[in-house]
Structure formats: C-alpha cells, structure tokens
C-alpha cells in the first residue's frame, strides 16, 4: 500500500511538471473539460431531480406531525441536497462515468504502446495525459455540483406539485428560510476534492496498467472502487472539519 501511495505521489509530481508547450496542453484541457462537463450533464441532471424529489417526499413523510411546520421539510431537503446528496452522490456517479473512462483510456494507451510512443518523442506522458484530466475534474465537478443542487431543489418542488405531503408554498418557504452560505462553501470544497480524487486515482490506475484488454477492465474497476472509497472518506473528513 505504501509503495502504491509513493508511486501515486510521484506520478502526481510528474503530472504537474512544466509542459513542453502550453498551447497543446490547453487544447487537451478544453477537450477534457467538455468531456467531463458536457458529457456528464444528462446523468447528473436525471439523478439530481429524482434524488431531490425523493428526499423531499421522505422528509415530509417523516415529519408529518401537527407540531412541526411543514416548511421544515423544504429546509432539510435543501441542506441535505447541498451538503450531501449533490456533492457526494454526484461524485460517486461521476467516478463511474468519468473515472472509468479516464482509467480505461489511459490503460488502453499503455497496453497499445501509445504512452511509450509519447515518451520516445520526449513528451512528459503523465503531464500530457493526466494533468488535463485533473484540471478538468477540479474545475468541472464543482460546476456540475452547483447544477445538481439547483436541479435537486427543483426536483423537490416538482414532488410537491405532484404530491400531497407538502404544498409548494411551504416547500419554497422552507428552502429560503435560514439559508447559510457555509453549506455552499462546504459543497464546493467537497466538489473540488472529489474531482481531484476521481481524476487522479483513475488516471493512476490506468497509467500503471500492464497486460491487455482484461487488465484495462480491471484497472477501470479498481479506479472506480478506490475513488468511491476515497470520496466517502474525504466526505467524512471535510464534513468533520468544516461543520
């Protein structure tokens, strides 16, 4: 485990060495940002709306008491979305979609000697392949998380319109009541950290693939599993430190 961690740190160091030409790297960063951001919009939108709606219904169901104002369900639903569901669930889904893509893409390049070809040309392969992915992860996951928060809250509103547990007016009153900007800061810190973990862990797994198609698949699986575990661990640490 310590050897792997050492290799991971060394790979990260190599990834952020001065590029041979910024222009070429910048084009790669843009390509990866489109792949991570635009490519993940659909799945993030779908899960956010459904999780937002389901959370609102469940919270309203659990708080069905004459002693508790119904608007509290909107408030709990909002904070749950901002603090936990949007950053963490979205990142777990992104680990599956984006992380497996990173690991299998780099792994395939490794087993088909494309990384060797880069190295022969004098290109810093970790820098060219991994740094654009990390930059894309760190910059686009927060954007997706913000979008997920908005859609999650919208999903809750749709659930109120469609159901009878809580009225839309109560929900909106709860959503705007006692909003604390710290929750958004926590969500963004989580998003940045999770974006980094997904991109770096999956790229690391891909970069050190050896063998053939079977091993590329195994690297992708390992990348997703390790990123998910690290996301949950980081989630706990950030929550503990910031709240």
């Amino acid at each position: 485990m310590f050897t792997s961690f050492g290799k991971y740190i060394l790979l990260l160091r190599l990834s952020f060495k001065r590029p041979e030409k910024f222009k070429v790297y910048w084009a790669e960063v843009m390509r990866e940002m489109v792949s991570v951001g635009i490519g993940s919009l659909g799945i993030i939108a779908i899960i956010s709306v459904f999780i937002g709606a389901a959370t609102t219904i469940q919270v309203a169901f659990q708080l069905a008491s004459p002693l508790v104002p119904l608007s509290i369900a909107g408030k709990i639903s909002r904070d749950s979305n901002i603090l936990e569901f949007s950053p963490t669930i979205s990142s777990l889904v992104l680990a599956g979609r984006v992380g497996s893509n990173f690991a299998s893409q780099i792994g395939t390049m490794r087993v088909t000697e494309q990384i060797d070809a880069l190295e022969i040309m004098g290109v810093n392969a970790p820098g060219y392949l991994i740094s654009p992915k990390i930059i894309a992860g760190v910059s686009m996951v927060p954007v997706l998380v913000i979008m997920s928060i908005c859609l999650g809250i919208t999903g809750g509103y749709i659930a109120c319109l469609a159901g009878s547990e809580i009225t839309p007016a109560d929900y909106v009153a709860g959503v705007v009541d006692g909003f604390d900007g710290l929750t958004i800061r926590v969500a963004l810190v989580k998003a940045v950290v999770f974006g980094f973990l997904i991109a770096s862990i999956c790229s690391y797994q891909g970069f050190y693939t050896s063998g053939g198609a079977l091993e590329v698949g195994q690297s992708a699986t390992r990348g997703v599993v390790y990123s998910c575990v690290m996301i949950l661990f980081a989630d706990l640490v950030i929550t503990r430190l910031m709240l």
């Binding site: 030409k21 088909t112 022969i120 040309m121 004098g122």
Partner: protein
Amino acid sequence: MIEVKDIYKTFGENEVLKGITATFKTGKNNLIIGGSGSGKTTMLKCIVGLHEPTKGQVFFEGENFTEMDFEQRVPIRTQIGMLFQNSALFDSMTVEENIMFPLNLFTNQTIQEKRDRANFCLERVNLKGRNKLYPSELSGGMKKRVGIARAISMEPKFLFVDEPNSGLDPKTSILIDELIAELTVEYNMTTVVVTHDMNSVMGIGDHIIFLHQGQKWWEGSNKEIAHTDNQELNDFVFASKFMQAAKEKL
C-alpha cells in the same frame, strides 16, 4: 552511430540481457534478430530508454544516454523516430494530427508548415490524401506506413523499428522493408530494426546482430549469414524447408 556497452537487463530473477555490446552504424539498416524470448525487444527498449538497463550504457553519437535524466534526454529523443509493433498511433487523432503531433510540441512552425510537412511525409509513404482518416479506419499495412510517416516527421537521426512485418502479408512486408531502407539512406539515419522475418534479414540486413538466450551470438551482414557455421543461427534462419532450399541455391 549508437553504441551499446555491456548491457544487462533483469526482470525480477529473470536475466533477459546478459552483457551485450554492439555498435549500430549510421546510414545502415542494423537488424537485431533472434527467436522469441531472446531479448530483442528488451534490448531495443533499453536503447531508447523505455527500460533502464540493470547495468551497462548506451551512447548516442558519443553522448551517454543511460546517465541522462528525462529532461536531458529530450534533445536526443526529438531526433528519434520509432515505429512500434502495433504502430501505436494515437486513436483519438486523425492521421494528419498523429504526424503533426511531435511538430506541435517541439517546433515553432506555422500550421501551414506543419500541414505541408505532414503531407510530404504521407506522400513519402504512399498515403497521399488519407489525412483525415482515423487509425481505426486503416488497414495494418497503412497503420505501419502512418507510423513511419510520424517517425520521420521530425527528420530523425535515429530510427527504431519493432517487428515491422508482424501481421502483414508478404507483399506489404516487402514494401515496408523497402520503405525503411530507402528512408535510412535518404535521411542518413542510424536505423535499428528488430525482426524475425527472414525476408527482412536477407533483403535489408546491412548489419545483423543475432541474439540467443540474451547474448550476442553472431554479428555480420546478410551476405555472410548464408555461409555461417554458427549452429544456433543456422537453426534459426534456415528453420523452414523453403529457406533450406534457398540456402542450397546460394
């Protein structure tokens, strides 16, 4: 000129290269031949720096490549072209982008100059007009030729070729061999080819090194190979009935 001095390479307990010393001459097709597992590809990878030798040194034009770090190697690496066994073209790029890739990173040429160079290289390997195709749309022989075009795009002084004929039909194999031989003369390159194809050996082998069990077993030219009394080399080169018949006619 490339000099390899007393190279050893060990993977775990498996000693693949056992003290090989060789010189690869400029303007010649230098072939490394040998049976499967003899250490040909490992030797090639040690020369180009994809593997670090356990012991020994590699010199490019007198400069000690083995002792250089990554940054120091870059000026030499920009003078190296390599054709991989499976071509190793970048899947996400078109043929033209593949050829322009090293030019984008290591030259300050304008887009038009890079396009012109890519077109010239493609024309040189008889693939004019295939610029916009992706590697997945090419046949094995075409991939090899694009690989060669990419390798010569920076006008290298050293060309390394790993199994250029693997997976190709005999006619295409000969075309690839001829192309490599022509380019070696045209660019006055030091060309090192790893192969076990006997057509290549007899066709373009100006200087041949035969590896056996990780050691240099024989060295000579394609003209000398037919008359050698080296048992292992004879067993390797003239393994087929066709080659035995050809030898009798020589």
